[in-house]
Symmetry: C2
Subunit: 508 residues, 2 copies
């Protein structure tokens, strides 16, 4: 299927025209860059070969970014805290390949399937980049016939979405999932997921939050009670899901005009979805004339009742909220669903959200009892419930918070800088560094034979390195070095033989 | 470019024939599975749509695998130790996207470029999966105009190689790189990389090792001295690189028959590449009649001399070896190159290597001063030296070692199992668990209302959970629970108020 030179030249002409047009109409720079990069890729096809200097726009692919050391430090701190909570609850880590056979992903994401990244057919299997971590988990469980696991998985996923990078939405982003698979008694695993979300948000200390709870079977029962035809449950559910971004009249319009509901039916739904509350509301709905004869509604409400009881035992009562407008986008949920939203503090809002009052969802999940069975040859089900922590949003919130608080994060953990006070000491420096490294002390030096003392000191201050060992002939003759505390500028002569002990004492 | 139904049907017919042929000739199962999966993908294209049970072979893509909890635990332990060494030397983490613009990778890997995974052109940019972490680093440095950094990067890379999974070679695998970028005095950064490799191998305690050292400029000078034409330096270098797997006569044959060297020239090279030794050999070569008039050879030897001196100061003399047969595959090296090989212990050899005496390379790297400049519009160079730790091989070696030693690794870190001795205690269990979690204790329970005591105890033994809290009405009436040590089966009644303190005491 390789193209002829003429075909490529024709494509280059068309692409060149497009770029000129975009530039003429002053389209956004990102868009122009993208088309320029396509143009250069075409030119590359002509076999002009590699050159010593680059001719293309130097950038990361659209919707992606590099993480600099400062961001990595923040990210690792956040992930470490989250992993500690997962482990506290018995979580085990797994990892799966970044791509899956395309068929594994087919038919799992509804209309979002168009956002899946496919790999080029280079001979061999047809592959796609993973879209989330839940479908790979289901594939893993079915493939290995695993019917019980508490697993966590932290990895990047890929969606060819329209990136809104200023609002923290990317095409490549981290997901951080904890799921409990197995056939258990109702709500014990489900409530532990709520507890885990709460512990994570508490340990990250990013502000007040509320965990909204609802139940897919209650939603279905409620739709049934309102007169929604069976085959429209999922699409009406998607419409309800938009209530966190759109006002009711808009959602109502969508239900009637796009989804074909009767106005009366939509209005009935409107009555329900504006309800939120606690156990009292559950009791009230259990007595509701329209719902109490619908088995799935009653089943959902009884689950919610039990969930609230368990959450109460775990001290979560003031953090949870029963919210009938919570629907969640994905098709595969079959039971409890939850979503955790931060209550905004003004300084956090910067760059994180356009919404009033909240900075949006930082965790979400629910029960999906039928997904694993889709991969099992005999359709054997493994019920699952899980939660996904929105770490990308959490990173953004914390970055904004540190910026607002003027906190300057370190990007490395160096404890000691080993310096020369004058020329000719680099071998002695290496020898002392070697001792410190062998003692487990984090230490560095300038990779210069004779660096200037002032530059070395400045480097310590800029990089918040707490201690410096300063080498000079006069001290070395006595078997000593100067140990300097950078913040106070206090210096003391220390015997080389005691140096690492002295450093450890000061660090702890 | 979408295909017609007829085209797809034709492709299905051809693919079906291929599968039947493969089956008839009893080809390897992996190969058949791959073609079957292509066939099913084609059938999928006909729009038969998703089904409730899967029709395709349930597997991970060719050359990839899942990591189960046991493997993840081992992997994370290894990576934590490596990261600790990187941080001890002032390393900062960065991360880059899993894919790059295709042009970024073009012209960097020589003939290995054919192994690059491309993404499908779905409109937008032309992308490829990263092939290593070095080229993305160079792109990152050039793009952000960074001229000094000590960065580490641990991430998966992708190569459409013929996988040899039994020997630990995959299409998706981890790389673990540490690089020092910046214009510095000779060999200071280079020798620190050698030190880092040595510290990592020591801390992992996977056995004796040797770090082979050589220099690209010395190799070039040696080729020049032997009469190799300038334009054949890189391809002769590739031939030398094969000496760790092939005997000299084979490599000699390749040089003469494939690369067109004169037999006499090849024989001269043969004399040099069988040399290995220490500082004495460097001195000897500095006096070598053929080499001493060739500037690049002298430059390389002087660097080696300095490198050996610095390594000696850092206590590495008995771990390094100057080896003229070391060449390294990649084109971009310009100075010192190194490779660390394990000296085999018999029990480690299992599944890890077919070679005699060593289990192969577990780290390698070198200096590449010209790569960053390839990305800079003005060709500005940022000299770099770095090392890549072969963590996949290290994982394999350790897995084999643990298996041989009969070590059973834990897959989670649970400290306490909270159990019911009889029915009706699940709410009390939740309440106690909640206290333990809030105290930071790693605890779990069965997600059953009334699990059997025996099952709960068995679970602890199987999963090496050290402690159990056993709830029973008679103890609870006195405000107590039984605290049981699983290994000794000793039990003691403990006041609920003291429970978490008592548990912490026993754990530490």
């Amino acid at each position: 299927m390789s193209e002829t030179r003429e075909q490529i030249l024709e494509e280059i002409k068309i692409q060149g025209d497009l770029v000129r047009k975009l530039k003429a109409t002053k389209e956004p720079k990102e868009k122009i860059d993208e088309e320029v990069s396509r143009l250069l890729a075409l030119k590359n096809k002509l076999g002009e070969g590699p050159s010593q200097t680059q001719k293309f726009v130097l950038k990361t692919p659209k919707g992606t970014r590099d993480y600099a050391p400062k961001q990595m430090m923040l990210r690792q701190n956040v992930l470490d805290k989250i992993i500690a909570v997962f482990k506290k609850h018995g979580g085990e880590a797994i990892d799966t390949p970044v791509f899956e056979l395309k068929e594994v992903l087919t038919g799992k994401y509804g209309e979002d399937s168009k956002l899946i990244y496919d790999l080029k057919d280079q001979g061999g299997e047809i592959l796609s980049l993973r879209y989330d971590l839940t479908v790979p988990l289901a594939r893993y469980l079915a493939m290995n016939k695993i019917s019980n696991i508490k697993r966590y998985h932290i990895a990047k996923v890929y969606r060819r979405d329209n990136p809104a990078m200023t609002r923290g939405r990317y095409r490549e982003f981290y997901q951080c999932d904890f799921d409990i698979a197995g056939s258990y008694d109702p709500m014990l695993a489900d409530s532990e997921c709520v507890k885990i979300v709460s512990e994570i948000l508490d340990t990250l200390a990013i502000g007040d939050y509320v965990i909204k709870l609802n139940h897919r079977q209650l939603l279905d029962g409620m739709f049934e009670a309102c007169g929604v035809p069976n085959d429209k449950f999922r699409s009406i559910c998607s419409a309800v899901d938009k209530l966190d971004k759109s006002p009711w009249p808009e959602v109502r319009k969508e239900m009637i005009e796009e989804k074909g509901l009767l106005p009366d039916t939509a209005d009935k739904i409107g009555e329900y979805v504006r309800l939120s509350g606690d156990r009292e509301l559950i009791e009230k709905l259990l007595a509701d004339e329209q719902l109490k004869n619908i088995p799935s509604a009653v089943k959902g409400l009884k689950d919610m009742h039990l969930l609230f009881k368990y959450c109460h035992i775990m001290g979560l009562s003031d953090k949870i909220n029963f919210d009938l407008s919570l629907a969640r986008g994905l098709d595969y949920y079959t039971g409890v669903i939850y979503e955790c939203v931060l209550k905004a503090e003004p300084k956090m809002l910067n760059g994180c959200s356009e919404e009033q009052g909240t900075v949006g969802s930082v965790a979400g999940g629910g029960r999906y009892d039928n997904l694993v069975g889709m991969f099992d040859t005999k359709g054997k089900q493994v019920p699952c419930v899980g939660v996904s922590i929105g770490v990308e949003r959490i990173f953004s919130v914390l970055e904004a918070k540190y910026a607002a608080d003027g906190i300057k994060q370190r990007t490395n953990e160096v404890e000691v800088m080993v310096m020369s006070a004058h020329k000719g000491l680099h071998e002695k420096r290496l020898s002392i560094l070697n001792d410190l490294w062998n003692q487990g002390i984090k230490a560095e030096h300038f990779y210069k034979l004779n660096p200037k003392l002032l530059n070395q000191l400045q480097y310590c201050e800029e990089n918040q390195i707490p201690l410096a060992v300063v080498l000079g002939d006069s001290e070395l003759e006595k078997g000593k070095v100067k140990l300097r505390e950078i913040s106070t500028r206090k210096e003391e002569d220390v015997l080389l033989a005691n140096l690492s002990d002295e450093i450890k004492k000061r660090l702890h």
